[in-house]
């Protein structure tokens, strides 16, 4: 099995994530889609590490995971605080700032 398929899978995941950000309304789900995109990037990194025969890509994946986790925590905190104020986690309801 060639590693290329992993690359294609990653690209598909990335696209699904990007589209998900656009079409979902729940902030948590939107955020999960972003995580999907990050993980697609991770998969790409690891695959290229395999193709290139170097470890760098895998180490990078570690860093990305940690950063992503930190992002999750920050994101959850923000979403939670906005949910407590508005009783809604829909991104479409956060619409006071415009024009």
């Amino acid at each position: 099995m060639t590693p290329d398929y992993y690359l294609i899978l990653a690209a598909v995941l990335f696209t699904i994530g990007a589209v998900g950000v656009l079409v979902r309304r729940n902030a948590i789900v939107v955020f999960m889609c972003v995580e999907l995109m990050l993980n697609a990037a991770n998969l790409t990194l690891v695959t290229f590490a395999r193709i290139n025969g170097s470890l760098d890509g895998q180490i990078m994946a570690f860093f990305v995971m940690v950063v992503a986790a930190a992002e999750v925590v920050i994101g959850l905190a923000i979403i939670m605080s906005i949910f407590r104020s508005r009783r809604s986690a829909s991104v479409d309801d956060a619409n006071l700032l415009k024009y």
Binding site: A18, V21, L22, V30, V91, N95
Partner: protein, 677 residues
């Protein structure tokens, strides 16, 4: 022409930065001290300009002391302003004969007008602020003429624009003043774009913005064809765009008449004598660039000729005393553009006309201010008449200015305008006839509308007395008045009933003394200028070469004087009996009483006025709708486009994400296309 070098300044001249620093310092002090300086601030303002004037005279004398062969262009490098990569702009000043005459004009006339303003603004609560801006203007204007590179010129350029904007909207509670200020600023910015691009182009072509290096580059390229003619043309036209914006030339002229909403000393100093001539200065200073490209010169001449005619014709149609003078300024600057566009010896002619104009136009504006001061800020010449009995000094000085501007010998306008007309006629080819005729026609029109202005204001039946015909007049007078009276807040109450205007009075000495001095200047300067100043300017513009001649000097002089006299006669005949007010008298016996005049009027109307009026109306329409329309339309387009685009910012995160994703998609696609295509 040989290459251009500037000698380092020595002696007193090495301190020429003081010229700019003194008024700038005074402006800072006045602004920073705030109300604490209210009592004496105006005298500080006057003193700083006087100090600059004295310095200017000192420098002038030093420059004169250099004998014939010595380098009369002295520069001093103060400090490095911007140095990045190849770009090196220093704060450097240049004092050469051209600068010298400008410095004397700015500080001399500026001093007189400052003095006048002490009286004129005496009732205004914002007098200190006014003087601060006024000093700021003088500093910026001096920087403009003293700079030894285009960036300095640009800095002064923007500075005078800013001061002009502040001063036009000085009485900011008047909507008209605020609008006029905004308009002036915006139209000037349009011109500034041209100027800025010209500077970038210069830098890209010659790697410098110093006058000497740029000019030498142009000269070298003429010899070696290193710089394409297109680049030089673009440079010239971009500079010209800037000059047109600042000097109120076609098609950017509309802001200048509106700028009269500012206090009269401002109109006199900034919008007549000095700032609006900055465009002429720039073109004269950049003569090397314009000389190198004939097309650019032709464009300058055409714009000058066109503008001078537009200004004259519209001037005939306006009734506000300052409006007429404003259009006459537009038209006179047209003459100057015409002159500097002609090139060669005509540069000096443009400059001397500029100087003469500085004197008589400042005098005329101050005279107009004096009239308005005595007439409780009435501005409509149809409501004046017979004022000569009440304000003799104003009448006499205004009269001298009037004779000077229309070019009656031996006053200054004759000596300066006449050679320009001659030079225009003697341009090569058929264009010489065209531009010459335009200039000649302009002279006639100038005589006509200035006569109208003068006669209506000072002679004939007084039309400001109410004589019981009542309400309508008083009300409309108050209306016209109300918009202009805020400066003299106290005056409003007294003129509410329109009665007080029955006693016009002469202005105080502090206003009349400058008037008299300026009148002396208008009378005496002409002859002086046409000889010695032209010689004085020779080191800058080179020797005047006699070109080929369509007409001789005598022929042109006779033609000019004839046309002028014709204009005066026509104006006098038409308007000696006054003019109708907008509000036609309702009572029939008044109509009957006027009948004798009426036939004459109708005849005049058919034969002389109607075609003229149609043309005038058309031009006024173009002026208001055309250019203004484009400016306003552009503004509206930006505003509307902005308002509509704004709606794209829906506030929905998902729309934003869509924008980002689409942008991402486009960028990826574009890069792939570039990479693979």
């Amino acid at each position: 022409m040989d290459s251009i070098t500037y000698a380092p300044a020595t002696g007193a001249l090495s301190s020429m930065w003081l010229l700019v620093a003194i008024p700038a310092l005074s402006a800072t002090v006045l602004l920073l001290l705030g109300r604490r300086a209210d009592k004496w601030g105006h005298w500080l303002g006057v003193a700083s300009v006087l100090a600059s004037f004295v310095l200017g005279v000192t420098y002038f004398l030093q420059l004169r002391g250099i004998d014939g062969t010595g380098n009369k262009s002295l520069s001093v490098d103060l400090f490095e302003f911007i140095h990045i990569g190849d770009l090196n702009v220093s704060v450097g000043l240049l004092f050469d004969p051209l600068t010298a005459v400008f410095v004397l004009l700015i500080t001399g006339v500026g001093f007189l007008i400052h003095l006048y303003a002490v009286g004129y603004m005496s009732h205004d609560p914002g007098r200190r602020r006014f003087f601060a801006y006024f000093n700021l203007f003088v500093a910026a204007m001096l920087l403009l003429v003293l700079g030894d590179n285009y960036v300095m010129l640009y800095a002064g350029w923007e500075g005078v624009g800013l001061a002009s904007y502040l001063l036009i909207s000085f009485w900011s509670d008047r909507p008209a003043a605020a609008t006029a200020g905004k308009k002036a600023f915006l139209i000037n910015r349009v011109g500034d774009v041209g100027f800025a691009l010209a500077i970038f182009l210069m830098f890209a072509t010659f790697g410098t913005t110093n006058y000497a290096d740029v000019f030498n580059g142009v000269l070298a390229s003429e010899a070696g064809q290193t710089v394409s003619a297109g680049v030089l043309l673009a440079m010239g036209l971009l500079l010209l765009l800037g000059a047109c914006g600042k000097s109120g030339q076609f098609p950017l002229q509309t802001w200048l008449p509106d700028a009269m909403e500012g206090p009269t000393p401002v109109s006199a100093l900034i919008h007549a004598a000095t700032m609006v001539t900055a465009g002429v200065y720039m073109i004269a200073r950049s003569q090397v660039i314009f000389n190198a490209n004939e097309t650019a010169q032709t464009v300058v001449v055409s714009i000058g000729a066109l503008t001078l005619l537009i200004g004259c014709v519209i001037g005939c149609a306006k009734d506000g005393i300052k409006r007429v003078l404003a259009y006459s300024t537009v038209s006179q600057i047209g003459y100057m553009f015409l002159a500097v566009g002609l090139g060669g010896g005509a540069y000096a002619l443009g400059i001397i006309h500029l100087l003469a104009h500085g004197f008589f136009k400042a005098g005329l504006f101050l005279g107009a201010g004096s009239v308005m001061h005595g007439m409780k800020d009435q501005e409509d010449i149809r409501r004046f008449g017979g004022l000569w009995k009440y304000m003799r000094i104003t009448w006499a000085t205004f009269g001298l200015g009037y004779l000077a501007i229309i070019g009656i010998p031996p006053l200054s306008g004759f000596f300066t305008k006449d050679p320009i007309i001659l030079a225009a006629f003697n341009r090569e080819g058929w264009t010489g006839w065209l531009f010459g005729s335009a200039a000649l026609l302009g002279a006639g029109l100038t005589a006509f509308y200035m006569t109208r202005l003068f006669v209506l204001t000072f002679h004939g039946r007084p039309r400001w007395q109410k004589e019981g015909e009542g309400g309508a007049h008083a009300a409309s007078a108050t209306d016209a008045h109300g918009a202009h009276a805020d400066a003299h807040g106290a005056a409003i109450a007294r003129t509410e009933d329109g009665r007080d205007i029955q006693h016009p009075h002469e202005s105080p000495w502090i206003m009349t003394v400058p008037l008299m001095l300026l009148a002396v200047g208008s009378v005496a300067a002409g002859w002086l200028m046409s000889t010695s100043v032209v010689d004085w300017l020779t080191p800058v513009f080179g020797e005047h070469e006699e070109g080929h001649a369509h007409l001789t000097h005598t022929q042109v002089t006779i033609a000019t004087v004839a046309v002028t006299v014709l204009g005066v006669a026509l104006g006098y005949l038409l308007f000696r009996g006054g003019t109708s007010l907008v509000e036609q008298p309702a009572r029939t016996h008044l109509v009957r009483a006027a009948r004798n005049n009426l036939y004459a009027d109708r005849f005049n109307e058919l034969v002389f006025e109607l075609p003229g009026r149609l043309l005038t109306r058309a031009l006024v329409w173009v002026d208001n709708r055309g250019v203004d329309g484009i400016v306003n339309g552009l503004a509206a387009a930006f505003g509307g486009g902005s308002g509509r685009l704004r709606r794209l910012q829906t506030g929905y995160v998902r729309t934003y994400a869509l924008s980002i994703l689409s942008g991402a998609f486009l960028i990826v696609a574009a890069l792939l296309a570039v990479r693979l295509g």
